[in-house]
């Protein structure tokens, strides 16, 4: 990514500012330019940025410079707080209707991810003990109904469809069907459409008026640019949305659209999509999104993900080993196994602030190669595993032969191991808000 962290840029801006005192207007102004550019590069809508900058400037000018923070960090703190506040501050969930079924309706532009997210919601609520019914109201896109049916099957949820009949009639009929068959949740998938297509927007209104959904959720692609405000505003004006699902956040976009959409609709983002698998749905954390947009690394997500995947005793042991630098190839192997199911190691590493992502390219870890790595390490002697520096050319040859791999594979493994070891040392120095950063493995 060509994007340099805002933190570093602000540090540079404030380099000249030493000593104590108050943040003056001139300092703040030059810092705000960096903040503004960072937000714009993150695709936050221009007018939203302007508004925010005004608020932040008002707050920052005249503030005492705290002893514990550099001026740069202090500004970031204010910016982060304002962004978090704008994004709603706290989590916001879908409200379950007291009188079932709870009806949720998904709307949005073409290709935003409605069908997949209808499936994800079914999966999510099923895990919470709900009994949802999916409804296929996309009668336009070729094979959209087939897609929903396959998705429904994968998450064990029936799909109500009536081919390409009128979607308003389908939705109404589905509601009756759900009531008659004790479904306590109705998830309505609709066709993607442009917010300026009057006829199709009317159709959504009619579906809404036919089934009175408890929540209309606008599905928005996290990579959307400045136009996000137009889209969100039109859908909101015409339908009255209740919340937003932000999709494709597993990409490398900063996702500034989140801020724009929230600013123009005032409605909370309730879920985020983080992958193509139907389990890849998470509740939205405003504070994490704020730091992502600012490019400060989503430390919290990393930690949470890691913790969910590994028992804490092992983590502690590992940490100790790292600190005492006795990180062996056996430990390396164990780690690889633990990161299975956590997404690729480099994905996770790339979320940690302060790490040079360019260096990550040197570490090539692919889950599918774990069996091979295992074979290689198992072909080493105990001594070699504990002290890889012993492994000279002839040993490499033996190991390759023993594991049925090529010498290059052995070399690549040793290289990755060394890189990771280096990286971990670097990580040991990193700090999180809550004190020492827990290693994500």
């Amino acid at each position: 990514m060509p994007f340099e962290g805002l933190a570093e840029k602000l540090q540079a801006t404030f380099k000249k500012l030493t000593g104590k005192g108050k943040l003056n207007e001139k300092d703040v102004k030059s810092a705000m330019r960096e903040v503004k550019l960072a937000l714009l590069e993150a695709d936050v809508n221009f007018l939203v940025v302007k508004d925010l900058i005004r608020k932040i400037t008002d707050r920052a000018v005249g503030q005492e410079i705290m002893e514990s923070l550099t001026p740069g960090h202090q500004v970031i703190k204010i910016v982060n707080e304002e962004l978090t506040a704008l994004m709603g501050g706290t989590q916001s969930k879908v409200v379950i209707a007291s009188n079932p079924p709870t009806i949720l309706m998904l709307v949005g532009l073409q290709g935003a991810g409605k069908t997949t997210h209808a499936g994800k919601l079914a999966c999510y609520f099923r895990k919470q003990g709900k009994n949802p019914l999916l409804v296929a109201c996309d009668i336009y896109r070729p094979a959209a109904i087939d897609q929903l049916k396959i998705v429904g099957e994968k998450v064990n949820t029936p799909v109500f469809e009536r081919g390409s009949r009128n979607p308003v009639a389908i939705a109404k009929e589905a509601l009756e069907y759900a009531k008659d068959h004790q479904y306590d949740m109705l998830l309505v998938d609709t066709a993607g459409r442009l917010h300026i297509n009057e006829e199709l927007m009317e159709e959504l209104k009619s579906i809404r008026d036919g089934i009175h959904p408890h929540e209309i959720l606008l599905v928005v692609d996290a990579m959307t640019g400045q136009d996000a405000v137009n889209v969100a505003q039109s859908f909101h004006e015409k339908l009255g949305i209740d919340g937003v699902i932000l999709t494709k956040l597993d990409g490398d976009t900063r996702g500034g659209a989140a801020l724009s959409v929230r600013a123009v609709t005032g409605k909370p983002i309730k879920f985020v999509g983080t992958g193509e698998k139907l389990e890849d749905l998470e509740v939205f954390h405003p504070d994490r999104m704020a730091s992502r947009i600012l490019g400060m690394g989503d430390v919290l997500t990393v930690i949470e993900k890691a913790q969910a995947n590994m028992d804490s005793r092992k983590a502690l042991e590992m940490e100790k080993k790292l600190r005492t630098r006795t990180f062996t190839l056996d430990d390396y192997l164990e780690q690889l196994e633990q990161v299975k199911g956590m997404g690729s190691m480099s994905d996770i590493l790339s979320m940690i602030p302060g790490l040079n992502t360019k260096k990550l390219k040197g570490i090539q870890i692919d889950e599918r190669q774990i069996p091979r790595t295992q074979a290689i390490i198992q072909s080493m002697t105990k001594k070699e595993r504990n002290d890889p520096s012993l492994i000279n050319a002839s040993r490499r040859k033996r190991i390759a032969a023993g594991s049925g791999t090529r010498i290059q594979d052995v070399n690549q493994l040793l290289k990755s191991y060394e890189e990771l070891k280096k990286m971990m040392k670097q990580l040991n120095g990193a700090k999180s808000k809550k004190g020492r950063l827990r290693l994500p493995f």
Partner: protein, 310 residues
């Protein structure tokens, strides 16, 4: 003093009306600037830069464009803001026209269509299949998206509409194997153009990009006599991430050209200017709707006009 007031008013009224009136495009905003500024000064250039940024052109590219206009204004001592619009149009058009290689389709050609999820790959293939068949070409389509639910069915419907044959395997099959089969079939049928649909993938996913590289290698190895074009599909609604998409797909498989879709919405695809200015990949086609005929060749002048259209 009076002009100061007017400037202020414009700034505040724009801010106030801003969120309810953002549909105004680059043209409206440039016109507004021209109306409010009597002379070209620093503030004018700042506002001009903002205008471009609001059109998704991105910060670095907008800065570049504005500074080259500023240079010209200073050199030619231009004092009249109304001339800015033409300067801007010329500048953008020339970026878009730079090093443009036209798409060539000799017999046989393989067109590998790639891009992130939901941008319009399958639809674009449906439109292209129809177009090429109508031009008298023998077209074959390979359904190498074996991942997304019902991707094959979707493509099959498009192929029926376009009346072209399709090679399909079951869901979950190896996409490279589909391409392999399609190449054998193309050769025995004497196909002119083989269109390959691929699953949407985010450009930052190493393993998925490896999978794409593999498909690309299969084409090179199994169909060496064919001319190959890799077409990247970008969604005009996308912001600055499109630059990252283009550069990472470029790195993985080498992009020959771009199809820019969904230009029938309110987004005008300004990010393509950033992509073009940073990577120099030509744009071949634009998508302007969901029907077969909603695909047009890209014409830089027309694109710029549309960007400035009220």
């Amino acid at each position: 003093m009076e002009s100061d007031d007017r400037k202020k008013k414009s700034f505040f009224s724009r801010l106030k009306n801003g969120l309810t009136r953002t549909r105004g495009n680059i043209a409206d905003r440039v016109d507004e600037l021209i109306r409010y500024y009597r002379e070209i000064d620093d503030e004018f250039f700042d506002d001009l830069e903002e205008t471009l940024i609001m059109g998704d052109v991105g910060v670095p590219t907008s800065e570049k464009i504005v500074s080259s206009i500023r240079e010209k204004v200073e050199k030619e001592k231009i004092g009249d803001p109304s001339r800015i619009k033409d300067l801007l149009k010329d500048n953008i058009t020339s970026i878009l026209k730079r090093n443009t290689q036209p798409l060539t389709l000799p017999h046989p050609t393989v067109l590998l269509v790639v891009g992130v999820n939901g941008v319009g790959k399958t639809t674009t293939i449906g439109k292209l299949a129809d177009r090429y068949r109508k031009e008298g070409k023998k077209v074959l389509v390979a359904a190498a998206d074996t991942f997304r639910a019902a991707a094959g069915e979707q493509l099959e419907i498009w192929c029926q509409r376009a009346q072209v044959p399709i090679i399909r395997h079951e869901e979950g099959a190896d996409p490279a194997a589909v391409i392999f089969d399609a190449i054998q079939s193309a050769r025995s049928r004497g196909t002119d153009i083989l269109l390959c649909d691929t699953a949407g993938r985010l450009h930052n996913k190493k393993n998925l990009m490896n999978e794409l590289e593999k498909m690309n290698r299969v084409i090179d190895r199994e169909f060496p006599e064919a001319h190959k074009e890799v077409l990247l599909v970008l969604d005009a609604t996308t912001g600055q991430n499109a630059v990252s998409q283009a550069s990472l797909f470029q790195e993985a498989v080498g992009i020959n050209g771009i199809a820019l879709t969904k230009l029938d919405g309110t987004a005008k695809g300004g990010v393509i200017i950033a992509v073009k200015s940073q990577l120099d990949i030509p744009v071949y086609y634009v998508g302007v709707g969901e029907q077969t005929e909603d695909l047009q060749p890209f014409v830089p002048e027309d694109f710029t006009e549309a960007l400035f259209e009220s």
